[in-house]
């Protein structure tokens, strides 16, 4: 039998649901021809916790601790999104200092998320440990800041409609300034380790390309869309909170491959540092929460927004995180829905994986940056 007539069979394999490379309980059913992926079916829902339904049975403020558990890397941005939606719904003004603290927290969260995801991505590529631990060392410093301000490292439950739950402690801003000012040193170090590394370039360039048109059509947001060259950043296009006050750029990639997604995140961190430095410089005094917000967080059941609907969105580190609330005039939302960036960004997984090798599927998934808590909710 000559090689041309050899019969080959397609092979179907399961990646996950319990597999370190899938970042949680997520399953990919891949059909392989040799080592090439010809079909890939994502299976999700293993971590479904009924978040939206729970949110409809409790008061608006009581949903905050649950949003921490959506994307558990970015509790602060999740809180921020819900707070914006409630503010829109109830017509609440945030205090000036509260806005600054929230933006500082959200940007610190972006640093935390991006260092962690880069570390994990490198882990997936086979660089076990080293980049991940360097990343986590830096993440740890920022988590200490979160603990000092909110009382918890990851489940912060800190942002409230109208500001933040309590003001940052004394000396906190100084500590934050020091960490933020030292962050570029770490980034330089990290880039020395990774950006120019030939092995990484070979491994990640032109792998899992997401074309610009597909990114737009599939409503991909966040660093993934920007790596494909889509200039879309909610901080710029929506200008929520006090972001219009800060000067920062939106880094864009050109090819839309895994390497671009890695590099866009590094550049984003540099921009975040710029925002943080400006915010930490200009932060005004005054109360950290407006009187109305204070009243709501002290007595959540008294907050009964007028009938209507509101959509609050933030540029979370993973993309557009939106909270959609419908009020029927009672103290509990009538409808509570979340637009989760991880979930929507995951929809193009198959398109990116087709024709690639099975080992590439792992790093493509890693470069999407998903957290299953948010995918399944």
């Amino acid at each position: 039998m000559s090689a041309t007539t050899a019969e080959t069979q397609l092979l179907e394999i399961n990646l996950g649901p319990q597999h370190p490379s899938t970042h949680g309980v997520f399953r990919m059913i891949a059909t392989l021809d040799g080592e090439t992926i010809v079909k890939l079916k994502p299976v999700m829902g293993y971590l479904h916790r009924n978040h939206e339904q729970i949110g409809e049975g409790i008061t608006y403020v009581a949903s905050f601790p649950f949003t921490d558990r959506l994307d558990y890397f970015n509790a602060m941005s999740n809180n921020f999104g819900l707070a914006l939606a409630i503010e829109k719904l109830g017509g609440i003004q945030a205090s000036e200092r509260g806005e600054y603290v929230r933006v500082i927290m959200a940007e610190l969260t972006r640093l935390v998320n991006h260092v962690a995801v880069t570390g994990f991505l490198l882990n997936d590529m086979g660089a076990f440990g080293t980049p991940l631990l360097y990343a986590f060392r830096e993440r740890e410093r920022i988590l200490d800041l979160f603990e000092a301000a909110s009382g918890s490292r990851m489940m912060c439950n800190y942002v409230r409609p109208g500001g933040v739950r309590e003001d940052v402690p004394v000396q906190w801003l100084e500590r934050a300034r020091e960490i933020v000012n030292n962050f570029p040193i770490f980034l330089d170090e990290f880039e020395t380790l990774l950006t120019e590394n030939e092995i990484i370039q070979q491994r990640a360039k032109h792998v899992g390309v997401l074309p610009k048109t597909l990114a737009v059509n599939a409503s991909i947001t966040g660093p993934m869309a920007r790596a494909s060259g889509v200039n879309y950043d909610i901080r710029k296009v929506d200008g929520y909170s006090i972001y219009p006050k800060f000067a920062f750029k939106v880094p864009l990639g050109s090819v839309g491959d895994v390497y671009d997604r890695y590099y866009v995140r590094i550049l984003e961190m540099r921009e975040s540092v710029k925002i943080l430095q400006q915010a930490l410089k200009d932060i005004p005094g005054g109360p950290a929460i407006s009187p109305k917000g204070q009243a709501i967080s002290k007595a959540p059941r008294t907050f009964k927004p007028p009938k209507g609907e509101a959509y609050g969105r933030v540029e979370s580190p993973k993309g557009e995180l939106g909270f959609y609330l419908v009020s029927d005039g009672s103290s509990q939302p009538y409808r509570y829905h979340i637009r989760a960036p991880s979930f929507i960004n995951l929809t193009v997984l198959e398109d990116m994986c087709l024709g690639q090798k099975v080992a590439d599927a792992i790093i493509i998934l890693g470069s999407i940056d998903i957290v299953l808590g948010e995918v399944d909710r």
Binding site: P65, G151, N157, P169, T192, L194, E196, N197, A299
Partner: protein, 199 residues
Amino acid sequence: MVGRGVLKGMWLVLREFLSTYPLGRMVLRVTGQPAGNRLVTVQYPDEKQQHAERFRYFPFLVYDQTPDNLRCVACKICEQECPPQCIHIVGPAKDEQGRPLKVHGRTYPVEFDIDTSICMSCRICVDVCPFDAIEMDNQYEMSSTERFGEMAFNKEKLLKSNEYFQQIKPTEASVVDQRLEAKKPKPAPTQPPTPPSAA
């Protein structure tokens, strides 16, 4: 040159490695290299990390002086507001005629349980309590082999003194103490003040 990036990265890792040891740090200093980061691992149980004052882990009930003088009046607001519904209160205590019993001029709960296997340490109960009766603890070493028995905290286990609160969270406790002091009914003045409208 191909491989330059890899070598640069390896040199960085070596530098980090050297800087974790005293001898290596000396080598770096002598050769004029920038020092890397020190070792950051904390050898938990032998050494423990200092946690922030606001660090929160499960609520407790505060009492003043004696355990029967607890601040909680069994108003059940926290029970209602707790997002995962892990607080269970029976009370306030009543006598046979159905009148609320009072200790130190306050009603009190007959039972107050928190199922810490459900509690997520979110601090909402502390935020909503109008009497500053419940506060967050910071004891985190409480692993248990049982799902129910030890993890369900009853009133006796939850009660902790105000001194303890002052000790673990000095800043927060002093704010609370000031607030309570301001709330205290003032001893009746000897001369009743004339109401402003009477003029």
